[in-house]
């Protein structure tokens, strides 16, 4: 399941993020990479415990909490504090898989990375290259979204960021543990929820079939969710 969620941040919020980030110090992106990833990772990041990353990360979390589509697709239980990266010309992140377990720095909190997310903060025409490429058994999917849009994909996938050949690509990225661990079950819940939303818009929230479908959705969550 690869889901693109448009306009998680508005253009003006993106501009504010970009201003804050332009004034912040950056460090080598390998500080948060595992041993295999650090061999293929070549970019910059905001220090994860720095003020800029914390402040902007909280704003990302606030935006996610109000995105119905994000909540429906991810059913998040715990979200890793969002990180921020910057790829200049020549930067890339070779093929890798995300660590299965992440500890939140300076806390005892750990999470299983069920889903990975990239929130684009540069417009697609600001840079060449820099596509997020997600591999599966039959091929590759390329993702390059507008600033403010987010892509959500299973952390089980091998993925890479292509070399930047012009300009600069700025993004936020994070992982999350979902209340529904199984990708198949979570995708089914997302499809069902989206269909119920559509039917509710057509027939009204009090429609008896919509009420029954909503009960089925919640009972499926009850069956599958870990809280």
């Amino acid at each position: 399941m690869l889901i693109c969620i448009p306009e998680v941040l508005s253009k003006s919020e993106v501009a504010e993020f970009r201003r804050t980030m332009a004034a912040a110090p950056w460090e080598d992106g390998r500080t948060t990479a595992g041993s295999q990833s650090s061999l293929v990772k070549n970019n910059l990041q905001l220090p994860q415990c720095g003020q800029a990353a914390r402040e902007l990360g909280d704003k990302v979390l606030d935006a996610l909490a109000t995105s119905q589509m994000f909540v429906s697709a991810a059913l998040p239980q715990r979200i890793f504090p969002p990180l921020f990266n910057r790829y200049g010309a020549g930067h890339s992140f070779g093929l890798h898989v995300d660590n299965a377990i992440r500890g939140v720095p300076n806390t005892p909190i750990r999470l299983r990375t069920d889903l990975s997310a990239t929130l684009f903060l540069s417009e697609a025409d600001e840079y060449d290259g820099g596509e997020l490429v997600i591999e599966d058994r039959v091929g590759q999917q390329e993702v390059k979204l507008a600033a403010g849009d987010l892509v959500l994909y299973p952390s089980t996938s091998l993925h890479l960021v292509r070399t930047i050949t012009r300009g600069e690509r700025i993004a936020s990225f994070f992982w999350l543990q979902s209340m529904v661990r199984d990708n198949v079950a979570r995708a089914l819940l997302f499809d069902l929820d989206q269909t119920i939303q559509s039917l509710t818009a057509r027939f009204g929230a009090g429609d008896s079939t919509c009420v029954k479908l909503t009960a089925i959705y919640h009972n499926l969550i009850r069956t599958w969710a870990e809280t």
Partner: protein, 227 residues
Amino acid sequence: MLIHSPKIIDAAEVAAIRSILDRADWEDGASTAGANSSQIKKNSQLAPNSETSRALGERLTSLLFGNPQFVSAAIPSRIFPPLFNRYGVGDHFDAHVDNAVRGDPMTGARLRVDLAATLFLSDPEEYDGGELIVDDIYGSRRFKLAAGDLLLYSAGSLHMVTPVERGVRYASFIWLQSMIRHDEARGLIYDLDVSIQELAPRVGSDDPDLRKLASAYHNLIRYWCDA
């Protein structure tokens, strides 16, 4: 899980079965009871391996498997040859759960008993007492259904038939292994099918939301079934 299917067989079929039952040989119902149930069971049965019982059972099986509501509710994978019983005045079957596994002595075929069903073959006014009481997750429920109606319930729920005080109560009882082992899962799949059947005439069979619900239905079966 408790599902009442009205008129699963029509009046002519009930009459045809009754005319056979009225002149059949009956034996003590304790013959198919487990060690515990035989203490508390007092009724008569058609001998399970008799030609009459087998022929009626096959006829009933083909009617049930051809009935969309029955198939939707039970999602049957295997059926034990239906048995037929007769409760005269003073007969009863105290509270019990059905055996978990049944072997067919004729064929050696075994099944896990997920579901039990009672097909009522006498109308309520033909007898007093003889109520089927089933303890389900929402409490104890009493049933005395019309001839031709079927009650499907979890084989694991405690159930009983109260003493008959007047007349004769005929019924067939059926054990099934379902492709969906767990009651909650099977119940959700059934509820979804009911909602889809409700919605179909309102929106038309080529409606995109209806098709998405149908795909969620099939994907839930795929997720949970043992074919």
